[in-house]
Symmetry: C2
Subunit: 260 residues, 2 copies
Amino acid sequence: MTDDGGEGAAGRLVPESETQPAAAPRIARGTGRRLHGAIAHKLGTAILSGQYQPGDVLTGEVAFSEALDVSRSAYREAIQVLSAKGLVESRPKAGTRVLPRQRWNLLDPDVLAWAFGGSPDLNFIRNLFELRAIVEPAAARLAAERRTRDDVRVIKDALGRMRRHTLANDEGRAADRDFHTAILQATQNDALVTLSASIGAAVSWTTRFKMRARDLPRNPVPDHARVADAIAASDPQGAEDAMRQLVELALEDTRSSMED
Amino acid sequence: MTDDGGEGAAGRLVPESETQPAAAPRIARGTGRRLHGAIAHKLGTAILSGQYQPGDVLTGEVAFSEALDVSRSAYREAIQVLSAKGLVESRPKAGTRVLPRQRWNLLDPDVLAWAFGGSPDLNFIRNLFELRAIVEPAAARLAAERRTRDDVRVIKDALGRMRRHTLANDEGRAADRDFHTAILQATQNDALVTLSASIGAAVSWTTRFKMRARDLPRNPVPDHARVADAIAASDPQGAEDAMRQLVELALEDTRSSMED
DNA sequence: GTCTCCGTTTACTCGGACATATCGGCGGCC
DNA sequence: GGCCGCCGATATGTCCGAGTAAACGGAGAC
């Protein structure tokens, strides 16, 4: 829910203000909400996809803004966004240059979206999955210790939605993400909650790979139900074990289709 | 919207262009180098400290920019930075309002710095410590599996610097942070490397609390050395155990001083 | 009472102008 | 001949004023 709200249905968010038929290769605003957001999206995707590599300089504010057919202000605001996410750094006379990958804020929701905007990087997906395997079992343990009745309700609700739909459609996958997010929320740890977007992306993409492997993979509901039951029963060890098993099964299902 | 009383030259962010008394104390030194960076720092600190709470609206670009005595461009670029970090959201007519805490990018290095800029939030420090306790043992295990000779060299170097200095001075604390960062680097996992800034902040602050408890706490070098040796020996289980012990000892040392 | 329309308010975008910092070369000094 | 410091070129940083677009809220019609 970070970026590109509903691009699938509406498509174009902007009415044709100009009556220019087929000129103006103006930047497509459909990719983001505001103009500078769209520019940031465009440049961010270009950087994440490797089109601009660390060390490259994007020298020439005027040149770039004219090339994109936007004002310098809009271009600069986009650069500030990228700068805030650690992708670039601007200095007078030196220009704006792409920072080394270590400085990138890879767990930022927008950066994550840009990383998966083009062709996804398999290695990075593996890294995210690894993070998930580290964080989620521990989070499940904490959730079992601290969950409120409301947390349990939200988790069970997501589980119910997973049961009704399947991982084959968007609603089912959304329910899956909600399930994992709800567990992180139940830890009462803001730092972990912040990771939910990143974890969610990992869940989403690994699921997609899983689906690619076989049309009807293992039914994920029982695994999830075990986690939910352990959390509801305030059983930390059980929740941690169940979640670890869930992640390991997912890894197993995913591995084969990621090795090509 | 009475800002901190200061258009009387105290709150001015801009250098005086009229007079030139050799060294104009710009705000840009410690806080942020550029003007919009300074504004973002100021507003970000205000938000993180609770001066502006979620739901509050910062309506009035002109009003705010004039109150800060900066141009609207600079103010807007600062807002873009805050927006990029999930702190605020701007919409026409609705104004710029502070987002709920769940949307905040709490693991962003800048946000982290702003959070600790004022009086640190004990609960948030606890949360970061918890994240550290989850991530670091697993990271140590991965590091032991994947470390290169260079990784080992960097880790040993940081350890040596920790030995020479102590946790009492800045160089020693920097060496401590470098040690933990080097281990995350050795995992070869970019997602984990991105967390080093957050982990580093947690290490830094928990150390500070530890120091507050007693003037000469337990010597941390042996614990760290055990981790380093296990990683150098490619002993995953040993590295994980040693790191877990390290974190638990640090937690133990820290807990008492955080309960007041 | 509900709906639609319109005006106001606010952020958004633009273009141009000036200020400032940095780099690289030129010239002078040692 | 080599080092040091001044100086101009250049690109980012900052400021200003105008005009556009979008969303809220109240007035009016049904």
